[in-house]
């Protein structure tokens, strides 16, 4: 079970409180976690990554185990603690604006 933490606005959009728990087939990657989450919560389609290119939106960042995974390739396998559910996969709205 993979735990995902969404930013406030996306939690409201998806209609969830707290963390999201997802069953993701091994090997769990950034791409497969996002695929599973969009399947569960279709309202999130297009908000984290582009509909067509599937590229991460510029002001959305990914973190796990105190590492910034934002620039890693989408098929990067997630760290073991995330796969085991010991650590969450964090989707964060970047600090921007004023």
């Amino acid at each position: 079970m993979i735990r995902v933490v969404l930013p406030f606005h996306l939690r409201k959009l998806a209609g969830v409180d707290g963390e999201v728990e997802l069953e993701v087939a091994a090997p769990a990657t950034i791409r497969s976690v996002l695929d599973t989450m969009e399947e569960r919560y279709p309202a999130l389609c297009g908000t984290i990554r582009d509909h067509d290119t599937l590229k991460r939106r510029p002001f959305v960042r990914f973190f796990a185990c105190k590492e910034d995974l934002s620039l890693e390739p989408p098929d990067t396998v997630l760290p073991e603690p995330v796969v085991k559910g010991e650590e969450p996969f964090l989707i964060v709205g970047a600090m921007a604006g004023g």
Binding site: E38, P42, C45, T47, H51, R57
Partner: protein, 388 residues
């Protein structure tokens, strides 16, 4: 007695504001989608409780929201659990998918070079006059999209960008289709306005479009006095009783046409400034129009710190300042292009919102004004519905 419902889009959410036909005691509901930019929301003419909203943010992009109960509850079309379980497949999570048709191509950039078309957000949603599931979306970078399934999916009408789109250029606020007018007497005729592309018309339901900018003079922005496109049109409007007569607030100049845009004539007359954004027509007097003059394109506030709506009862040229109830000193707000609307009560009500967060209403055709609400986030858009 009729009920009035104001739909206000702001920089930090949507607000739904209601009162009875006296238009005095207003109840404010919101913010809906707090923290998100709501460029526009508008109700269906045939089902007023069907409301479409454009929600966006710099972080998470575009969202389309729909309410089927007058704004009490909202959902992203096509994403509800019921639809997910429906037979035969469904357009899942595509209500915010705005993909240009085919090769997106390029348009003119600030430095004169060509720049790829990139979708940014929906500026304006115009529901069909006859079908609650059909609506048009004007988007940045400038294009028009159409839905026929209540907002679940959107398809571009690419003929618009073929009207010399490579010569359109963004203004300071971006390059967007911000105005969509549906001809109530001719279902195949639609007008749009683009900053900075100009005004365009289709007579075949959106398949092909022609520029309708003859008579527009833009010497500071366009050196070519006969430029067919590229004009910074801020807003166009019409009265439903005679849809061939249109009024325009351009970057500079107020204009009118008698022939569906084939030729425009300036009617700025005695306005203190002919720069501005909104323009609207009185519900019962097709020759009575309203504008809000702004000092200049670099100052974006009313002349002399006085917020004045100007009314012409002669279709332009002769204008009178309407000031009663509006701040007449130290006022430096702006009124954006989609932030003025009229109701059809007798007497006609006129409404507008400001970048200072105020919404004003005149319940007597503009003679006097009252504050509906004072301290909202900057107001992007105002629409008004009459309910039974």
């Amino acid at each position: 007695m009729s009920k009035i419902r104001i739909l206000a889009g702001t920089k930090k959410g949507a607000f739904i504001i209601t009162a009875d036909g006296k238009r005095k005691d207003w109840q404010v509901s919101g913010p809906h989608f707090g923290g998100w930019e709501i460029y526009h929301l508008k109700g269906s003419a045939v089902d007023p409780n069907r409301i479409y909203a454009s929600q966006s943010s710099g972080w998470f992009g575009q969202i389309i929201q729909r309410s089927d109960d007058g704004g009490k509850s909202w959902h992203t079309p096509g994403s509800s659990p019921e639809e997910l379980q429906g037979p035969g497949g469904f357009p899942r999570g595509e209500s915010n998918k705005f993909t240009y048709d085919g090769d997106a191509g390029t348009h003119k950039w600030y430095d004169g070079s060509q720049h790829p078309w990139e979708f940014k957000r929906v500026w304006h949603i115009e529901p069909s006059l006859t079908d609650p599931d059909t609506a048009y979306a004007g988007v940045e970078d400038a294009a028009i999209f159409k839905t026929t399934d209540g907002g679940k999916t959107w398809k571009e009408l690419p003929g618009l960008r073929q009207a010399k789109g490579h010569l359109w250029q963004p203004g300071a606020g971006g390059m967007a289709v911000h105005t969509i007018l549906l001809d109530p007497k001719n279902a195949n005729r639609i007008y749009v306005a683009i900053s900075a592309g100009g005004a365009f018309r289709t007579d075949n339901g959106g398949q092909t479009w022609k520029p309708i900018n003859k008579g527009l003079k833009s010497p500071f922005e366009l050196p070519d006095p006969d430029a067919e496109v590229g004009h910074c049109v801020h807003r166009i409007t019409l009265h439903p009783s005679r849809p061939d007569v249109l009024f325009m607030q351009k970057h500079w100049d107020v204009l009118r046409t008698e022939n569906a845009g084939e030729q425009w004539t300036e009617v700025s007359g005695n306005l203190p400034s002919d720069f501005g954004f909104p323009i609207d027509v009185h519900a019962h007097e097709p020759e009575t129009i309203f504008v809000v003059p702004i000092k200049s394109d670099s100052e974006h506030y009313p002349p002399d710190g006085k917020l004045r709506v100007y009314r012409s009862k002669t279709g332009g040229n002769d204008w009178e300042a309407l000031t009663q109830g509006l701040p007449q000193k130290d006022c430096y707000v702006n009124v954006l292009r989609d932030a003025m609307a009229v109701d059809r009560l007798e007497p006609c009500g006129i409404y507008f919102g400001t970048t200072g967060g105020q919404i004003y209403c005149s319940a007597d055709g503009g003679d006097s004004w009252n504050t509906v609400v004072r301290d909202l986030p900057p107001v992007y858009s105002v629409e008004v519905q009459m309910l039974k």
